[in-house]
Amino acid sequence: MAVIHSIDSNWLLGYIPDDLPFVIKTNILMTIIFFGFAFFFVSFIILLRLYKIFRNRKKEEQRLLLENILNSYLFDEDFDKEKELQRFKDEYLNKALEIKIAIKEILLFHSNIKGESAIQLRELFLRWELDKFCKKQLENSAWYSKSRALFSLSEMLIKVDLDIIKPLLNHKKDEVRQQAQLYFIKLAENEPLAFLDHMDKPLTLWEEIFIEDALKNEYHGPMPDYSNWLHSSQHSVVDFAIRMIAKFNQFENISELLPLLEHSSEEVRRETIRSLCALEHFEIIDTLISQFGEETTLVKKTILDAIEHLGSYNDLMMLKDKIQDDEWDLKIKYYGIAQRFLPEKKQSIYIQYEKEKALLL
């Protein structure tokens, strides 16, 4: 009401006849205010739309210009590189939007072609000083610009002072951290995983997948010795290192893995068992059998899997008495494995399971 009275005292109610009842006056006033808001709202949407259309048109024009100059630069022997590239830079690479489109277009070309032309694109990236723009974005921009800048620099294999990249390894946004990790891998000559020593945050599953993929496809140096990270303070890094030892068949690291069977982290112990299994280290069976009683349910399940993979029916039998009466998950798993060891006695093992179940229930 205070708002209505203040408008009344100024001008708005002056246009409404005085002899109308208060309710009608209020209704008219509210209608006018509502239409005012609606008008501004619709105008705002139209303006936004127009801005977007204008921006998209500008982007398309810039993209076409770039497509032409890039094709001429790469494939036209008569193209005057010095003059034309400088002219393009002076005329069309002044605003942030123009520079961003140029980076995007060069990266698009770079992802589709290789050989001499790809090298020329990198030279052009540097000649137009797009690397400086990216470096600036690493320091002052929003997280998504940082992430894009890291991607651009790593794709173009442009080295940046590592003191700028290192803090980004612990950035609060996953995307930035991931791009920082990929930057290290792509630009590394011999220590692609050195960045793991600088990480304070745990590795996510996605990061692990991307790191593994980048190591296979982007890194061309010698494979790192993963045992270097078996004692990292980050359990996720230890897990990753254990997994990679198995993945890349680093048999020489088996002796480094064995002490981890007694690690304080349940996940690390499980990963160690899985990796030793994958490396077919049969000697762990006795240790696993003796350790079984003191383990958590999840580790016990992993041990049962390991016995199935590496052991024999006799090894499995040694675990039977170590499974508690209330550990039904383990019992079911135990009998399942027993049936797979002795397929000819499948039915009698099932009957034995049913008997035990009846006794306990």
């Binding site: 497509e67 001429s72 036209d76 698009l108 589709n112 050989g115 001499e116 032309s117």
Partner: protein, 118 residues
Amino acid sequence: MKKILVIEDNPMVIKSLQFKLTKDGYDVIIAPDGREAMKLLKDATYDLILTDLNLPFVTGNELIAYVKENLQAIPIIVLSTSTQESIIMDAFNMGVEDFITKPFSPNELSLRVKRLLS
């Protein structure tokens, strides 16, 4: 002037191939999908076909089969992102003359085209 039919759906690759092959002195005709390529092949003759495998409407393999059955004389170069051995072997078994994987080297492509057309 030798005529090359380029069948590709990536606008950037189309533009680059068109630019490069035109500069090399060929007449380049573009088909953005397999269906359009079939129409063009029925209406005119070409000296070489450069095709992707993952195409809309009619796949690259269907197109290769059609060409090798009806227009045996036209050599085909496949330009594909696929590096899978089985896909490359299938293409050669169908009778293609060459297979280039993306990302590709434009200079290398130019040489391979030149070799097939000489």
